[in-house]
């Protein structure tokens, strides 16, 4: 396994990037405005792209450079651009409405990170990986997934929900880059295009919701229509 046999410099580089992307997930959790959120998401995607390039460099996987380029282009530029377009064109509210205040969300997020910390600590112990980047990557992956779920739960707008979904996906991608760097190229490409399809579908869904129900918030969708 690559992550268990890294030198100290590479290990600290990896850990810094992983922790920085976790910090950006918290920036998204605590931000009130959708544009801040999108900027944080774009920066996080660029960080993950750098991370996959670094994995490619240290583990000698040339195809990971291509993945890094595609990640930066798709997640770092195209997806935020598409979502900004949806916000502009559909006249969706630019403020994120939440059921909990940002600070309460952050504290719950911190507790979720502690949970992920304990879980991955146990996993690392049983696999004999204690003290390596692999455990840290596992923690970051699990906590980003949990934070994504938290965003899906506390935000009711359709647009905010897709943002939660994207964070969740970023977490999985980050973990997979460090933990199983030798994935076939095709799977990574499929994941990238999958995301594009998801965002496009949500764009259509929001347009449909606004046209038929006059709202894109899951709060107001209470009536069953046959």
């Amino acid at each position: 396994m690559l992550a268990a046999q890294l030198g100290p410099l590479a290990a600290s580089l990896f850990s810094l990037m992983a922790i920085a992307s976790l910090l950006l997930a918290f920036v998204m959790l605590g931000s009130r405005w959708l544009t801040d959120y999108l900027i944080a998401f774009a920066v996080q995607s660029w960080l993950i792209a750098c991370l996959s390039a670094a994995v490619g460099y240290y583990g000698h996987y040339p195809e990971l450079y291509l993945i890094a380029l595609l990640t930066a282009l798709f997640r770092g530029m195209l997806l935020p651009y598409l979502i900004l377009n949806i916000i502009k064109r559909q006249d969706v509210d630019r403020e994120v409405h939440e059921r909990l205040s940002p600070s309460a969300c952050m504290v719950i997020g911190a507790l979720l990170v502690l949970f992920a910390f304990v879980v991955s600590g146990h996993l690392g112990q049983s696999l004999g990986l204690t003290g390596t980047v692999a455990v840290l990557a596992l923690t970051v992956m699990l906590s980003m997934k949990l934070i994504g779920f938290l965003m899906l739960v506390v935000r009711s707008e359709a647009l905010s929900q897709i943002l939660g979904l994207l964070v969740l996906e970023n977490g999985i991608f980050l973990g997979s880059q460090i933990l199983v760097p030798g994935m076939p190229l095709l799977i990574e490409l499929v994941i990238l295009f999958d995301l594009l399809v998801v965002v496009a579908c949500f764009g259509v869904l929001i347009r449909y919701l606004l046209a038929h129900a006059r709202t894109s918030s899951a709060h107001d969708l209470r009536r069953l229509v046959g």
Binding site: S12, M106, G109, F117, L136, V140
Partner: protein
């Protein structure tokens, strides 16, 4: 042995003598940043001198707590410098009385008595100030504990001297994400504890006051003691931040007189750097609504948790 005792006394005297200067520098710089003239960096000394020569006025409703609180607060601030590395990087006599948690306990004891004194006289402002200070303390305390846990995981010890040595000797630990996140978390705590949160304006006596509200009933020498105690608390927290976490270099190794004097100068130089950051944050950060006071604390809590998580590597 005598030398060590003298050095220990020197540590306490450094804190007593230089804390008003630190306060003066911060206030002067804030004035300068806002393009005002400022009262000069020696103004806190003049204020203390003036207050010590005034007559005290005691509210009729005051009980013995009113008299005890300033003295206990001042004594607590005299005790804490014994436990932490102010001038030397080796433990001095009696510095094994308590670890970081012990120092935190004594600092909180002083603050607790001032809170009681605020409630004691029964004035409305004292009550408001006390309730706000307690609310902030309740929110800051878990973060403080988490920062201590992070430090303990980093250095495998709770003694400030051990942490200092570790950071000086191992640059890899100094630049590790765990340590950097601890520094960031402690910096926010520093702003909270020295009453510089971005929720009240820089003029002190106004509606959103927190620490000033508690001591509004005091006057004369007792007020001087309280003000001095709060300046010393600021100095002590800066010392912990600089000498233990952020800039652990420049302390006296051998304990000679020249070394101690140099260390005192170096400590003040380091404080000027931190004070510059504090002034920058206070000026650049826009004032928040009062009821958003929990947001910086939530961020600090989060950074401490991330520091603990980052400790997994190693």
């Amino acid at each position: 042995m005598t030398r060590d005792v003298l050095l220990q006394i020197g540590q306490v005297i450094t804190v007593i003598a230089l804390s008003p200067l630190l306060q003066g520098v911060i206030l002067q710089w804030e004035e300068r940043v806002q393009r005002a003239q400022g009262a000069g960096i020696l103004q806190p000394y003049r204020d203390l001198w003036k207050l010590f020569h005034k007559q005290g006025v005691v509210p009729q409703t005051a009980s013995f707590i009113y008299w005890v609180a300033p003295i206990v607060a001042f004594t607590c601030m005299l005790t804490v410098p014994i436990l932490i590395p102010v001038l030397t990087d080796f433990p001095l006599p009696e510095s094994d009385m308590g670890d970081i948690l012990g120092g935190g306990l004594i600092l909180t004891l002083g603050s607790f008595l001032i809170t009681l004194a605020g409630l004691d006289s029964g004035s409305a402002y004292g009550g408001i100030g006390s309730s706000r200070a307690v609310m902030l303390a309740i929110l800051a305390e878990p973060t403080l504990i988490l920062v201590f846990v992070g430090i303990t995981l980093l250095a495998k010890a709770m003694l400030p001297f051990v942490v200092n040595h570790l950071l000086v000797q191992q640059p890899a630990v100094y630049w590790s994400p765990a340590h950097l996140f601890l520094v960031a978390a402690f910096f926010i705590l520093l702003l909270v504890e020295t009453d510089r949160l971005p929720i009240h304006s820089s003029t002190h006596i106004e509606v959103y006051m927190i620490d000033e509200g508690r001591i509004l009933e005091y006057s004369g020498p007792l007020l001087a003691l309280l003000k001095w105690a709060s300046m010393m608390k600021q100095f002590i927290l800066y010392t912990v931040f600089c000498n233990v976490l952020l800039l652990p270099w420049g302390l006296s190794h051998l304990g000679t007189a020249a070394g101690a004097l140099g260390a005192a100068a170096a400590v003040f130089g380091k404080f000027l750097i931190v004070a510059l950051m504090v002034v920058f944050v206070e000026t650049a950060q826009s004032r928040l609504r009062y009821y958003r006071y929990q947001e910086p604390l939530a961020a600090s809590f989060l950074l401490a948790v991330l520091a603990i998580v980052a400790n997994q590597l190693r």
